[in-house]
């Protein structure tokens, strides 16, 4: 699939556009994304939502951006790196601690949601059952990019982040499998029978996970452990992200064992988790930093394309014509997610009180269930399974739901998080930073006065008088900061971490400076710099641990004693 996609890109669009046109479109999209990124920080609208809005504007100038957006392009080229990057950064110990609810929501919740949505939409919009089920499946895949960005900005607890992101990673795969089963049954003229469907679901899902685990393990335990070259190791992870998807999706063809395939998305999820949990621990600090930077950049790049293309693909006039159907679809997804999130979380909290999910988190998980690229890609891949009018209606409903969730829910989720008191750290951190910045600027002012005195630009008596003023201000600011931190002890360690990080960065700069000046050998400086990188990574691990709520496996000890 990938070679075909690349060949298509190399030849230009499917409508005969030249490579230069495709390249120009890519440049326009990239430049736009950079501009939107700068602007979205100022106006405090999520980056992805801003991209969709700009994409909607682009849609009115069809020849402006000339790219052929096919389902294969989205699923085969854009989705694997996004999934891989998300899983790479998903802490396995935290995911494992809540794996029960994550999988229950992703598998049970997605299936239940599929049928709730189908049950609401089918009688009102008047489409066949299988079409309604296909719509229910494709619209159940959540896209947490915009929400997760807010979690980071607002300082929401890491566990909620893991719950939302974990569910999304697995439910994408479930949605795709259920969608394929419904569309396949419609194309064959058969009905969707539960037994075979569950069997195929298990085969496709478990097969995908197995492919990802095997390939991820090979890369983690062999390549990342034995090769010590950050460029090669990074290239191999990129190959793994696409390779695991391709091998799973083309398993039958590659191994000449028939037509069947496994879930490519689940293969990427498993491969990413394997590298994140096993592979990264086998790499040098330099490789780890390179990998983090590379995947952060690639996710930015791909997200920019995905959300701009989402905006470009959505036709506002069509949504206007089918407003009734779109409204029903929006209502159905809100109702089904409300029921699923609250009921599943309530049962889980009762079963595992020590891992209870607060009601406020359930509200965020409900309203934060945005839809995005996977839903759009699936809506574009119906083929000829249904009547063209039915497919058109489903596509318009999908576009409407995606647009509503991104523009409606995506722009209000931050307010909900604040209202529920889940961004409590925010105000204190801002105040702490304001006090630090004041202290820093006063000290810079005093240093400048001394420099002017040394340069003979200010006579000593005047410099002394001004410096005395500054020193009084600095003492006041310094005392104020100390008292503020004493009143808010939770800030203490974050300041310590920040300070330690700055000190390590200064140490590294001084080493590189010594090396540049030829005072110490390059290899000596690099060796010491690697040690400092390792310390920076240690700080990251500690910060991640401290940000999460304490949890511990008490175990079941019938004798009532601990090993000592």
């Amino acid at each position: 699939m990938l070679p075909t996609l690349l060949a298509t890109a190399a030849e230009g669009g499917s409508d005969g556009t030249s490579l230069l046109d495709v390249e120009l479109s890519a440049v326009i999209l990239l430049t736009t994304a950079a501009g939107v990124a700068i602007l979205s920080r100022r106006i405090r609208v999520p980056f992805t939502v801003s991209l969709v809005i700009v994409g909607l504007v682009f849609a009115f100038t069809p020849s402006f951006v000339d790219l052929n957006v096919s389902p294969e392009f989205i699923l085969g080229l854009l989705v694997p790196p996004l999934i891989f990057e998300a899983t790479l950064n998903l802490p396995w110990p935290k995911l494992k601690a809540d794996l029960g609810i994550v999988l229950a929501m992703a598998i049970g919740g997605t299936m239940l949601g599929t049928f709730i949505v189908a049950g609401i939409v089918r009688p009102v919009v008047d489409i066949p059952w299988l079409a309604a089920i296909a719509f229910g499946a494709l619209i159940s895949a959540t896209d947490p990019v915009a929400v997760v960005a807010f979690f980071k900005t607002l300082g929401v607890e890491k566990r909620l982040n893991v719950l939302v992101e974990g569910e999304s990673l697995f439910n994408d795969a479930v949605a795709i499998v259920v969608f394929s089963l419904a569309v396949g049954a419609a194309a064959d003229g058969t009905s969707l029978s539960l037994g075979p469907a569950i069997g195929e679901f298990l085969l496709v899902g478990l097969g995908g996970l197995a492919v990802g685990i095997v390939l991820g393990y090979v890369v983690s335990a062999i390549v990342l452990a034995k090769v010590d070259d950050h460029l090669i190791e990074t290239a191999v992870t990129l190959a793994l992200a696409y390779g695991s998807y391709l091998v799973a999706e083309s398993f039958g063809t590659i191994f000449n064992v028939g037509e069947f395939h496994f879930s490519g998305i689940l293969a990427v999820v498993a491969a990413g988790l394997m590298v994140g949990h096993v592979g990264l621990k086998n790499t040098s600090p330099t490789t780890r930093l390179t990998l983090e930077n590379f995947w952060e950049f690639l996710a930015f790049l791909v997200n920019s394309f995905v959300f701009l293309l989402l905006g470009i693909e959505i036709d506002l006039t069509e949504i206007g014509v089918e407003l009734g159907a779109v409204a029903v679809a929006i209502g159905s997804i809100l109702i089904s997610r409300l029921l699923i999130v609250h009921s599943f979380a309530a049962v889980y909290s009762r079963l595992r009180p020590e891992r209870a999910i607060p009601v406020s988190w359930r509200h965020v998980s409900w309203w934060g269930g945005l839809r995005g690229a996977i839903s759009l890609a699936l809506a574009l891949s119906f083929g000829t399974a249904f009547d063209p009018e039915v497919i058109a209606t489903i596509q318009i409903m999908t576009f409407g739901v995606v647009l509503f969730t991104l523009l409606g829910q995506g722009t209000t989720i931050a307010a909900l998080i604040r209202k529920l008191g889940l961004a409590g750290k925010d105000a204190n951190i801002t105040e702490q930073q304001r006090r630090q910045a004041t202290l820093h600027s006063k000290q810079a002012g005093r240093d400048e006065l001394r420099r002017l005195e040394r340069d003979g630009l200010v006579f000593p008596e005047m410099a002394d008088a001004l410096v005395a003023h500054y020193t009084a201000d600095i003492d006041k600011a310094s005392g104020g900061l100390a008292r503020y931190v004493q009143r808010h002890p939770e800030l203490e360690l974050s300041i310590l971490l920040q300070t330690r990080r700055s000190a390590l960065a200064a140490e590294k700069r001084s080493l590189l400076d010594l090396s540049r000046r030829g005072v110490v050998d390059v290899q000596v400086a690099e060796h010491l710099a690697v040690e400092l990188d390792q310390r920076s990574i240690a700080l990251e691990l500690l910060e991640e641990r401290w940000e999460s709520e304490p949890s511990i496996d008490v175990g079941s000890d019938p004798e009532g004693g601990f090993q000592s």
Partner: protein, 138 residues
């Protein structure tokens, strides 16, 4: 009292809990051992990285203790930092047995119920209390 062993759990209440532990040691005229544990929540780290994490953890905790004792005028409280690796519920009794600890303080919030704390008391042979924001509220 000879020595209080404070066990760190992380979480948003840790700053308050550390302060409360230092105040308790000052009031009881005891020395304070700060036990920081690299438990299973850190995952399986490469040996070299685990050493560096332990080193940084010790560095940060020592700095925090210096800050807190100075802020509370408790410089006379003798402190020591112990960084250990392994399951926390095994490390705590082992640490108590190898020293002269006569009180264990668990920094709130603590993810253990009353029964688990009682079992920890049995295993250590010394009183175990929760200290920090939650304990203060209670």
């Amino acid at each position: 009292m000879t020595e209080i062993l404070y066990v760190s759990w992380g979480g948003s209440g840790r700053g308050t809990a550390v302060r409360a532990a230092v105040e308790r040691a000052r009031d009881e005229d005891a020395s304070l051992g700060f036990l920081a544990v690299l438990d299973e929540s850190f995952g399986d780290m490469e040996e070299a990285l685990a050493d560096v994490v332990a080193d940084e953890l010790g560095w940060l905790v020592s700095a925090q203790l210096r800050m807190v004792t100075a802020a509370l005028n408790a410089e006379n409280v003798r402190t020591r930092v112990l960084v250990r690796r392994g399951p926390l519920l095994e490390i705590v009794p082992a640490t108590v047995k190898e020293s002269t600890v006569d009180l264990v303080l668990l920094g709130a919030p603590v993810p253990l119920d009353g029964a688990a704390i009682e079992r920890l008391e049995d295993a250590t042979g010394v009183p175990v209390e929760v200290i920090g924001p939650e304990q203060a509220e209670a």
